[in-house]
Amino acid sequence: MRVEQLSWSEAVGWSASARIGAGLVLYFGTRRALTCGKRYRELRAIYPDAHVVGCSTGGQIRNDDVTDEEIAAAALAFDATELRVACEPVPSPNRSRSCGEAIGKALAARDLVGIFVLSDGLHVNGDALVSGITDAVGQKIAITGGLAGDGAEFRKTLVGADRRPRTHMVAAVAFYGPAIRIGHGCVGGWDEFGPRRRITRSRGNVLFEFDGKPALDLYERYLGEDGVKDLPVSALVFPLRIFDPDRPDHDIIRATLAVDRNARSITLAGDVPEGWIAQLMRGNFDRLAAGAAMAARRAADGLGPSRTGDQIAILVSCVGRRLVMGQRTADELEATSAEFGPGISQLGFYSYGEISPHLVSGVCELHNQTMTITTIAEALG
């Protein structure tokens, strides 16, 4: 496999022209940069034979740097791996499962190894989407990826595969054959704090009450006046760890997507079942970076031996992490980069949700507030 990294900026345009005959181009940029579709057409022109797949973000990752101005992209040329791309619209969140099933059916094959998914970040129930795909392709197939972002605006997210990126879309790239190697790692690194609370009222991904008290009250109390103004973005600094009291080791981190000040509820990026236990979390720069490093280590280990050619790590990190870390965001990228070493290049974005198998159970599902890394390589001979 060969990897060619490139970037686009307003001042310079695309940093390089094609030197390889790529089969897949991944690109990530701000909504503003992608909306017109010009960047897609430029890439299509540069790599006429490649599937061109990308989405809007909350910040682009290129190696150990994070940028809001530039588009980050990478062209991947495979020696012995077949690719297939599927793209399905998702008109409303309650159609997420059927959308997932359609994608899964389109991509399912005996030699399918892994699927990388990019989804609309605001109008999709990520859990339902992933379980729809899993239903079609089986639990053994690793599904990774993330939900598109919209900076700190939470208004519109765009996704496109072989066409101009749009809202309400889900795109997926499937990798086939014996040569492909896909690794994955998904770690939060957040610290739990404060008491554990029982979820006493919820519906789907809308959380109404902890211990019989309004959920939004708790968040407002912890965020203070300044934070309340910036809701729902400010709530990302306090992700919520939830778990079934009968399976405390299978915990999931949920990020806040929206609030309803009248209903005093918060809307999270995935389901919050009643009766589960919830605990607030907070970030410490060093431990968040250490979590990212651990995700990198796992993703690198997942590639296994006998790799040949270039390797790439696609980093999908939660926008909430960036919000907490600010200028120290690069700390986690430097940590993953250090973990991978010079052989693996890094590309990625800050997302509204991450998709990966659970660290303990192995079940593919939606995560929030994690660093989720998918490593891709080929092993020949």
Partner: protein
């Protein structure tokens, strides 16, 4: 250099080594701002967290206190409950033991120790059932094979079902154990001392089968054994005999010497009957002085029965010495043979009873076999008994009067009232046929009373020198209060007592009771004359004449009949008349039918005479009396309207 500053410098680095200073300052300022914001957020969240944790802590404290209080309360309650439980266990009348699923003792009470004579050391919690069983065996449980006993009981408790067993002790005690399995395995057992209950059951079973006085089997068992005998007879053939016994005149002994003597006599009779019986025979007391013997017959059962009956008669007849009383008693025996005389219990018993009745009516101290004719006799008798009862209410009795004349004047001095039964169907029935029946049924009292009242009522209409005499049977004399009855009859009729005579036989004095003599004296004091009837037929002891100052002696007709042929009879009549004269007792010669007889008794010195020579007994309406005393030797003034 801090890596952030390095990163910031790198970001603002321009070509040709220059730095965009305003941009750098902005980055640094932003970093400070973010750091401050981060610190503020951290501070806030930490203090809020502390606050929340404190609240939680307080809530937890409150919960702990609440729970602790509840636990203490529960503990106190449990303690009280334990005390109550302990008190209940200690004061239980029954023994209690509780074992766990591993057959180890959980708890037992003091009563359990006492019952099985176990020490507290032998019943420590955790002791195995086997060890306790062994201790119980050693302490006196009766078991043929101790090892088998233990194994059998252990097998039972493994069964996990409720059950009851009994433990018997060498000292005679019995403990009933009822075991109830518990939900979590193990069981609870209640031990009850049922020794008394067992004894009572045995006693009740004995009493249900035996006669309390003699210890013989009772009627119910006899009937049961007879039923069994019939069963064998039906299956295998063979024969058996029922002897039904009734002691002769036992009542007299009981009445005169008292029940304690009577009871001792019955016990002695029972012993003798049992001694006569063979091992397989059943000797039973049916009640009162009635006994029965059920004997299996081997060969000629009639002959065997005769031999047995003779043995029984002889055994009972031998003299008794009871409480210093020298007693003799006989028995009558009715015999029924199975299967000839009956093919079921009822029939055979009835027939034996008929035979007994026959033996009794034919003079006692004998046995009789059942004969089919006996049934008919008894039926007749029975219907007569029923009719006798009706006769009183239907006023079927009437009195006939037999004159007694003064030998010197041949005038009627008195009349003897004789009762007759004018039966609507059978016609006139003589007293000899129904008086014994009346005596048996107890009807003699009302009949006797009727006679006295009627005689008094009749006599009050006659001339004042005519006396009326009535007969009083010994039974009547004994049973009724004659004094009251006579007072009432005299008062109601207005007859002066001097005109009433009572005829009694010597048997009234036979049993020599002082009570009877006292009664006679009372009657005599009232003015009633007492006549000794039928003198000469019984013992005719002269001592009776000294025992009571009779007004009149009636010499039995048997002497009069023989007067002309038998010199002895003449001497006796003469001696009695002479004795009467010396004792100032008038003498009446009964049964005078001829002038010759009259001449002879007059010659012997008798003062009065009675017999058909002076007329037959007639109803009051047919009697006429001479109002004034006629001249001596005048004609008899009795007219009969009927004749």
């Amino acid at each position: 250099m801090h890596k952030l500053l390095a990163r910031q410098l790198a970001k603002v680095h321009k070509r040709f080594g220059t730095v965009d200073l305003p941009a750098l300052l902005q980055l640094v300022s932003d970093a400070y701002e973010q750091s401050d914001s981060d610190r503020r957020r951290t501070d806030r969240s930490i203090s809020l967290m502390i606050q929340e944790l404190e609240e939680l802590n307080r809530e937890l404290d409150r919960l702990v206190q609440e729970r602790t209080a509840a636990l203490r309360e529960r503990e106190a309650e449990l303690c009280a409950q334990n005390l109550r439980f302990d008190a209940a266990l200690k004061n239980m009348a029954h023994g209690l033991s509780m074992f766990d699923k591993n057959q180890r003792l959980i708890v037992c009470n003091d009563r359990y120790h006492e019952m099985y004579r176990l020490t507290p050391d032998q019943t420590k919690p955790g002791t195995t059932l086997r060890a306790i069983m062994e201790a119980r065996l050693a302490a006196g449980i009766r078991a043929e094979d101790g090892h088998a006993y233990i194994e059998e009981r252990l097998r039972k408790v493994r069964g996990r079902r409720p059950y009851c067993v009994e433990n018997e002790f060498h000292d005679g005690r019995t403990i009933a154990v009822s075991k109830q399995p518990m939900h979590e395995g193990g069981w609870v057992a209640i031990h009850q001392d049922i020794t008394e209950q067992k004894r009572a059951e045995k006693q009740i079973a004995y009493m249900a089968c035996h006669d309390g006085l003699t210890g013989l089997l009772n009627r119910a068992v006899l009937l049961e054994k007879m039923e069994e005998a019939f069963g064998r007879l039906r299956q295998r053939g063979g024969a058996f005999v029922v002897f039904m016994l009734d002691l002769d005149l036992f009542k007299a002994i009981n009445d005169s010497l008292g029940h304690p003597v009577g009871d001792e006599l019955l016990k002695a009779v029972a012993r003798r009957l049992s001694a006569c019986a063979r091992q397989a025979d059943i000797v039973s007391r049916l009640g009162g002085d009635e006994f029965a013997v059920l004997a299996m017959a081997d060969g000629n059962h009639r002959e065997e029965a005769i031999a047995m009956a003779n043995r029984l008669l002889a055994a009972v007849a031998a003299p008794y010495d009871v409480d210093g009383h020298h007693l003799n008693i006989g028995t009558s025996i009715g015999i029924a043979l199975a299967p000839e005389h009956g093919t079921d219990v009822d029939q055979l018993m009835k027939n034996a009873d008929l035979a007994l009745y026959k033996a009794k009516s034919e003079g006692r101290d004998a046995f009789r076999f059942f004969e089919p004719a006996m049934g008919t006799e008894v039926r007749t008798r029975r219907s007569l008994q029923i009719e006798l009862r009706k006769a009183l209410t239907n006023e079927e009795f009437e009195l006939h009067y037999h004159p007694i004349v003064d030998i010197k004047t041949r005038d009627i001095a008195s009349v003897e009232a004789l009762v007759r039964w004018q039966h609507p169907r059978r016609g006139m029935i003589p007293p000899g046929d129904f008086i014994p029946l009346a005596e048996e049924t107890g009807l003699i009292n009302p009949v006797g009373e009727w006679v006295v009242r009627k005689a008094c009522r009749d006599a009050v209409c006659w001339p004042s020198h005519i006396k009326v005499s009535v007969n009083l049977s010994p039974l009547q004399f004994r049973k009724i209060g004659p004094i009251d009855m006579f007072c009432k009859a005299l008062a109601d009729s207005g007859l002066p007592p001097e005109r009433l005579e009572l005829e009694i036989t010597e048997s009234v004095l036979l049993h020599g009771s002082a009570e009877n003599v006292a009664k006679l004296h009372q009657l005599r004091l009232m003015g009633i004359s007492i006549v000794l009837d039928d003198f000469g037929t019984g013992y005719s002891s002269l001592s009776y004449l000294l025992m009571f100052p009779f007004d009149k002696i009636k010499i039995d007709r048997s002497f009069v009949r023989e007067l002309s042929k038998n010199a002895d009879c003449a001497s006796i009549v003469s001696a009695v008349a002479s004795l009467g004269r010396s004792l100032r007792i008038r003498t009446v010669a009964e049964g005078i039918e001829t002038d010759n007889q009259l001449t002879l008794v007059r010659g012997a010195g008798c003062t009065h005479a009675q017999g058909f020579l002076f007329g037959r007994p007639r109803p009051a309406a047919e009697l006429t009396f001479r109002e004034s005393r006629p001249s001596p030797g005048g004609p008899q003034q009795i007219k009969s309207q009927a004749s």
